[in-house]
Symmetry: none
């Protein structure tokens, strides 16, 4: 269920980032396609939108996703 542990030692934004990274690896969010909006993800995980944005920043640094203002955040297409 990809639950978020509020009482855990690891920060929420890292937990969210881990879940999203798992979904990308599993193909739940396929390459080239858009991931749910930050608002949507915030609702799903029960965290603030700013926390989701922080999680997406991590994935962006890892080169996993690419955000486009006005359109959404997309899974980067890799050649592996």
């Amino acid at each position: 269920m990809d639950a978020i542990d509020l009482d855990g030692a690891t920060p929420l934004y890292r937990q969210v980032a881990d879940v999203l990274e798992s979904r990308i690896a599993a193909g739940t969010y396929p390459p080239g396609r858009r991931v749910p909006s930050s608002r949507n993800l915030a609702d799903e995980f029960g965290v603030s939108r700013r926390t989701v944005v922080a999680a997406l920043e991590i994935l962006h640094e890892k080169g996993l996703v690419h955000g486009v203002v006005g359109r959404g955040t997309f899974v980067v297409e890799t050649d592996d």
Copy 2:
């Protein structure tokens, strides 16, 4: 270079406030214009964002700056 002295007796947030006040006085941050974001300043000085916010609170109490949510912190225009 406006260095911050970690080993100094004066608190970090006061040191940061002093540097920012100097820059305002010097015109580095001119009246009516925006000062760098708290995140930016935190990176520059190597302190937490919360410490920069504390510094800006001092300048706000002195009537030197004025923060606007979602836009930034601006140098107050004086009539001297």
